[in-house]
Symmetry: C2
Subunit: 344 residues, 2 copies
């Protein structure tokens, strides 16, 4: 089959690899229907040291079950399924506590002998705990929105959930990337009436306004902080959803959080140390967030997608075939594309 | 009247100052009955640059109302009252949201022309929002426990509340100072069944065991972390109450927090930057805490003290008179005394 591999910064190739096969009785093999490229895939695209063996890419996909191991009971051949960005048993104590990305018996795609999602097929370990079935006969137009359940929408939702966004909380979303826009959508879905989106790419912030943002602040750094403070009577917002992962975004979050507020991060931090002194402590701010327990959220979020109440799939602004994934990475890195869908 | 002032590191004196008087219609003057020395008073005791004007000291006291301004309605002359470590109107939005230490119209003792609590009398601004009345005829033996409501017990309680301690959460308390011991008592009061206390002063950890700790870990640093992990099957605890404020305590907290857990800090951080990268984010840890909204908690905590259900006043292991406050500071700094009560 054809699969996307990365061999170093800027070096993505589509190569032939053997078709995946069942290896454990708890495995399934899924034929991919749609996959996509994640903002987090751009981190290695910018920094990965050259490696002649390459590494498989992709952790977001939906597809059709092709084969199941003898222990798999929840899905069968022919089912359309969504896969979260991590696989898990969904039964261990960490999973039951709602932290499926830390499953005791789970792991990540494109690692430890498991392939990536930007490929024609994937072996899925712990299929019962990992795959979520999509109802039969779903309209194909809904597939891109269903695909966002595998990561980007669930991640935006996680930011809002960990921040305890509700109708009484004002919200700042930092970042107009796909995750930031999904955080806007999620905050709106959870009832937030005031959502300030910090971002400077008009096409993206326009989509943010469509998703529910009430104000856009294009300024960055101290200027951006002051703008948000000016919009909020000098106080900042109860919740800040940090969807970038770089230090300036964290500093911005600290600057716009209201007394007693929550900074919820879902952008993987590209730093270790940050200010957690009096600036955080003195105002009783809470810092939370982490990798989304996607599996925990899919069943809650899917009905709103199936009903057409929300259309998170609008974050995809380019569709390519598997042979074009190298160009897809380049387009996202150049910010020509917001998020690229790979259609099989 | 006699009042305690600090003139620099190690330089505490008891001096004569004018008796406080009403200055605003919302003021009260309180004659102090009991005050105490706080662990946080030791920070300037170790580091304050010499200052010939000195600064008044103390932010924990209970006393009898001597005089009230014309606008004060909730307390009257002769009432026994507890004062929180901050004064506030208790009506602004920050106060109503439960963050009284950030009151829009509040402030701190021993600052801005307000005296300190380690003195014979104190002018109390915003008396209606600040003072909490103790029922008439209370047994004098209960006064030390009531005094802990002004800061140290409420602060330990805040650590546990912000961490959402309950019967299903395992707890690690870092620090065997007075706040750490109060955090143990608070966690126990909120239902925690397993409380690991990290501290190495046996007299203090013994009191911690009496307050509800189930295990004591005397080791520090990586050794201490490994001990807690060994006690918890390698997982750490759901909640970590960091009651010290120094970087090694934060690092210890990071090391013993369970996936999805909460680190709640109430020791004022004596650092700015700390590790908030993958070590915090990757396991979906939450970092919270801050100055306790004492006023918010007093009415909830006082009944258990009056009933004798809990005896937080046991943290006082030395009682002195006002003239002896310099020796009281020295005793706490030398760790000869855990917490010093000043009896008037």
């Amino acid at each position: 089959m054809r699969a996307t591999f990365m061999y170093g910064a800027g070096d993505v190739r589509v190569i032939d690899v053997p078709d995946p096969t069942l290896q454990q009785p708890t495995d399934a093999v899924v034929r991919v229907v749609q996959a996509c490229i994640c903002g987090s895939d751009l981190h290695p695209y910018r920094s990965m040291p050259a490696d002649e063996n390459g590494t498989p890419m992709g952790h977001e996909f939906l597809g059709v079950v092709e084969e199941t191991g003898t222990d798999v009971t929840s899905v069968k051949k022919g089912d359309l399924v969504v896969a979260p960005f991590a696989w898990q048993d969904n039964t261990c104590d960490f999973c039951r506590e709602g932290f499926q990305a830390s499953c005791r018996h789970g792991g990540f795609w494109a690692a430890g002998g498991i392939g990536g999602g930007q490929a024609e097929a994937v072996r899925v370990p712990q299929a019962d705990g990992t795959l979520v079935k999509v109802p039969a006969g779903v309209d194909a137009a809904l597939l891109p929105s269903l695909l966002t359940l595998s990561d980007v929408f669930a991640t935006g939702h996680h930011a809002a959930v960990r921040a305890k966004v509700n109708a009484r909380t004002t919200v700042t979303v930092i970042g107009d990337g796909a995750v930031g826009l999904m955080a806007v959508l999620s905050a709106k879905r959870l009832g937030a009436e005031r959502i300030i989106l910090m971002g400077r790419h008009k096409a993206r912030t326009d989509l943010g306004l469509e998703f529910g943002a009430t104000e856009v602040v294009a300024e960055r750094g101290q200027e951006g902080i002051e703008k948000v403070l000016a919009l909020t009577g000098g106080d900042g917002t109860h919740t800040v959803l940090e969807c970038v992962g770089h230090m300036p975004a964290y500093q911005q979050a600290l600057g716009v959080a209201r007394v007693g507020g929550v900074i919820s991060r879902v952008g993987v931090p590209q730093y270790n140390d940050g200010d957690i002194g009096w600036n955080l402590f003195g105002r009783n701010l809470t810092l939370t967030g982490g990798p989304a327990p996607v599996r925990h959220y899919i069943e809650e979020l899917m009905p709103d997608v199936l009903d057409g109440k929300i259309e998170p799939g609008k974050v995809f602004d380019r569709t390519i075939g598997i042979e074009e994934t190298p160009a897809g990475y380049q387009a996202m890195d150049d910010r020509e594309a917001l998020k690229v869908l790979v259609q099989f």
